[in-house]
């Protein structure tokens, strides 16, 4: 005999009252061949190679569903063949060679070729083409195509070139189709070679994708993928809890713990290539090494992770997370409040006569960002540092950072999906970089030669030495590596992705 709970009866009654017969509620869309994802960001544009959205790491999982990258990337951050099956440098590093995958078709049925690859690279490298990463793509040129083989001259050696081919803006676009439709036509009806094809796109509402039956990597497990754009975290919680969506990401950790304990839901939280850090600007009190060291040593990162982030983060001591190429586990910044007090005393500061400076932070941009800074300020107060908190918007952070006018301390998060030290320590700490606010000759002198270092082992060793030097001098305060909480119905199997959000092609029925 079927029995109904009081709650089920209430649901049925209310549904009947509100909707009448014959109309089903919008829920439980995961009916075998469809997966609905309540996603945390909107998709502003379908061109993954130009404009602001092309450098937004969170959007990449949608782009990767429709387009293929030159070089693929596994969920573990390892590289794998994409539309290029082989790639590499000549021995003298003056040329690159690439082999293009055979038998690939665009979503409109036309054949993909090496011409598409060359056109995409040349378009990406144009300085006035709107590609924010053109400074990388412009470092090779004079392409020559021979069947599915491409060679190009190295105009300026860039050791991370091939890593970027699996990262931001590293997508292959359809030459003939784009030239026929133009940018606006492409926005209206985008095509790629990826595992899914765009079926319907309601801007700011949803995108519906259909499986690409001819995908070179095999037809994906779900026939239909629906991304609902739900930027509000509370609404995403409601989406997954009500059953309206099958998968969601980036919900508050308290809700994550509550919801993953439910019978029909599962949750996984894995480290992603995103870290929380405190930028130090070499102005005012931060010119005093004792103050910087004391500030770094008096932060109990493990307590922050355990109490504020419910254990869903990993403390770090350099800007390299454990999965990154230049991670060195031997570099440690100890938590030592007594040592911090000693250092401050050497500079004439104490709890009675604290050193004072401002720390800037966002509020709500990242999980517990403001609360973390509040906790840090509380820890600092106990050793003789009095920091005044200023809350600002992320747009202001970018403006201040670009103008090198951040406060002496500023909380920020930094992504690095290719795991290379240039895209973490490099751009964050090299004085001439528009993203760095630390400008000292000793550090720039160490970093400078590494940009063009051709010997990979020597290059990575060099970056580790840079990280050690930074830690020894507390030029920045690395805090934590973030985790991304993913909630999903137990009827679905989801593979977490260290590079960012989970991708539909890595989901399947459980």
């Amino acid at each position: 005999m079927t029995t109904l709970s009081r709650r089920q009866i209430m649901k049925l009654g209310a549904a009947g009252l509100l909707l009448g017969n014959g109309f089903n509620i919008t829920a439980a869309l995961a009916e075998g061949d469809t997966v609905t994802i309540a996603y945390n960001v909107n998709l502003p544009s379908w061109d993954p190679t130009t404009g602001l959205s092309s450098v937004n790491p969170t959007i990449q999982s949608i782009y990767r569903s429709v387009f293929d990258q030159f070089i693929g990337q596994k969920p573990s951050l390892e590289f794998q063949p994409g539309l290029l099956t082989e790639w590499g440098w000549s021995d003298d590093k003056k040329q690159v060679h690439m082999t293009v995958r055979d038998g690939v078709k665009w979503h409109d049925g036309s054949a993909f070729s090496a011409e598409d690859v060359v056109w995409s690279l040349e378009r990406a490298g144009k300085q006035d083409g709107g590609n924010p990463i053109s400074f990388i793509w412009g470092k090779i040129g004079n392409y020559k195509v021979d069947g599915n083989k491409i060679t190009a001259d190295v105009l300026s050696f860039e050791p991370t070139l091939f890593k970027w081919m699996a990262f931001l803006t590293g997508y292959v676009m359809p030459k003939a189709y784009f030239e026929k439709t133009g940018a606006e036509g492409f926005e209206a009806k985008p095509i790629g070679t990826g595992p899914y094809m765009v079926d319907q796109f309601e801007r700011n509402a949803f995108v519906r994708l259909k499986a690409n039956p001819d995908y070179w990597g095999g037809k994906p497990a779900f026939n239909t993928v629906i991304y609902k754009f739900v930027p509000d975290a509370t609404s995403r919680v409601a989406e997954i809890e009500s059953g309206s969506s099958d998968v969601t990401v980036d919900v508050p950790f308290e809700e994550f713990d509550r919801l993953k304990a439910k019978d029909d839901l599962a949750g996984v939280s894995t480290p992603v290539s995103d870290i929380g850090m405190i930028f130090l600007n070499n102005i005012d009190a931060m010119n005093d090494k004792n103050v910087r060291m004391a500030a770094a040593m008096s932060i109990d990162k493990q307590a922050i992770v355990d109490k504020l982030l419910k254990g869903y983060a990993t403390p770090i001591d350099t800007l390299e997370a454990p999965q990154y190429a230049a991670f060195d586990a031997s570099i440690k910044v100890p938590y030592d409040t007594e040592k911090a007090k000693e250092l401050l005393k050497m500079s004439g500061f104490s709890t009675d006569n604290p050193v004072k400076f401002k720390i800037q932070t966002t509020r709500g941009l990242k999980p517990k960002d403001f609360e973390m800074v509040q906790a840090i300020v509380g820890m600092w107060r106990k050793v003789g540092i009095e920091a005044e908190i200023e809350v600002y918007e992320i747009a202001k952070h970018y403006e201040l950072r670009a103008g090198d006018t951040l406060a002496p301390a500023a909380f920020y998060n930094w992504g690095n999906a290719i795991g290379d030290p240039t895209t973490s320590t490099g751009f964050a700490m090299f004085g001439p970089s528009p993203h760095s606010v630390w400008n000292t000759d000793d550090l720039d002198g160490m970093i400078g030669p590494l940009w063009g270092e051709a010997d990979e082992a020597k290059r990575i060793a060099g970056w580790k030495a840079v990280d050690k030097h930074i830690a020894d001098n507390a030029y920045v305060i690395p805090l934590i590596q973030y985790q991304q909480p993913i909630l999903y119905k137990k009827s679905i199997k989801v593979t977490p992705n260290i590079a960012g959000s989970p991708e539909p092609s890595q989901m399947s029925p459980a």
């Binding site: 509620i25 006035d128 930027p231 509000d232 403006e399 895209t423």
Partner: protein, 335 residues
């Protein structure tokens, strides 16, 4: 006289819009946040940054930027969105129908509910019914709309999941419409199921926006009804033996409606402004939701276009309210 009045209103509208244009243009450039700083690539040089600034015309002096934009607006071109890389006018026209349909639906709910509670509490003046309605009205007024939104999401989206809590329509339905006026075009095409689906998606956000407005309408209309109910012509109607219901609906309501209508018009403009938060909570794809993204991304042309659009809507609504008020009240018509 009407021609002079019309000309005066049109002139006033133009001056208002000019003021809005200047203020919004200056404001978005004064507040912290540089859209170019948000787009700077990791390894960009100063020359790259300047090239990017020039690409979006942000390298010019502010006064020159304003006149370039002003000239474009006069030709019906609001510029190109920095974040969406599309024509701003096209983006807004694409989203505006969603907001208008939602706002009108919310207004209808608010007017119906507000009128109902005003009539009931006037008819049952002095009774427990009036006290209950007044208390409920007070709660509707005191609770901010976003709290209503979250409450509805929790109650009718999660605890009793009977209504959709995000979007404008079920992504599984492809209605193949050619305009963004889903309800109007859906009805014209006879796609009743799709229209019903759109209405279901609109119920919770519309209720969220309607609740506070319904409380205001109910309170003002009730107050006006109470004033009208002691007038001589109402006493005369009673002497004639007309029923209370007929007096209330036929004699009192029309005269009492004038102040409520004027207020409703003003509140409708606030209601459209209120779509910003409500659309975000319900992931509703209107211009309110768009405005939040535009501000986050410091998309200056889009922010300017949206504020100008809001300004135009406010002016049009106010003119319509003036016309309707004059139609209802002959004294104003001949003033």
């Amino acid at each position: 006289m009407p021609v002079q009045l019309l000309a005066s209103r049109a002139l006033s509208a133009i001056v208002t819009l000019l003021g809005v244009m200047v203020i919004v243009f200056v404001l978005v450039r004064v507040v912290p946040g540089d859209p170019i700083a948000m787009m700077i690539a990791p390894g960009a040089s100063e020359a790259d940054v300047q090239a990017l600034r020039a690409l979006y015309g942000l390298d010019l002096p502010i006064s020159q930027q304003f006149f370039v934009w002003f000239g474009q607006v006069l030709q019906g071109n609001f510029g190109t969105s920095i974040s969406l890389k599309q024509n701003v006018m096209r983006i807004i026209l694409d989203r505006l129908p969603a907001t208008l349909e939602l706002a009108v639906f919310a207004l209808c709910l608010a007017v119906m509910w507000g009128t109902f509670i005003a009539l009931v509490s006037t008819a049952w003046r002095g009774s427990t019914v009036e006290k209950i309605i007044d208390a409920f009205n007070g709660v509707m007024l005191a609770v901010p709309d976003f709290i209503w939104g979250l409450t509805f999401v929790l109650l009718l989206g999660v605890l009793l999941p009977v209504l959709p809590i995000s979007g404008r329509s079920d992504p599984a339905i492809d209605a193949k419409l050619t305009t963004q006026f889903f309800i109007i075009e859906g009805l014209l095409r006879g796609q009743i199921y799709f229209v019903w689906d759109v209405l279901k998606h609109m119920i919770l956000p519309a209720l969220t926006m309607a609740f506070p407005l319904a409380a205001v309408i109910g309170r003002v209309l009730k107050s006006a009804l109470l004033d009208v109910m002691v007038q001589d012509y109402i006493v005369l109607a009673r002497i004639k033996g007309l029923s209370n219901l007929r007096i209330l609906l036929q004699e009192a309501l029309r005269n009492a409606a004038v102040p409520a209508l004027a207020l409703t018009g003003v509140q409708f403009t606030f209601l459209i402004g209120g779509t910003v938060i409500t659309e975000r909570i319900f992931s509703y794809p209107g211009i309110g939701n768009l405005a939040i993204d535009a501000v986050i991304n410091r998309d200056l042309p889009l922010i300017q276009g949206l504020v100008l659009t809001f300004g135009i809507i406010f002016i049009i609504v106010n003119m319509l309210v003036d016309a309707a008020t004059a139609w209802l009240n002959p004294r104003l018509r001949h003033a």
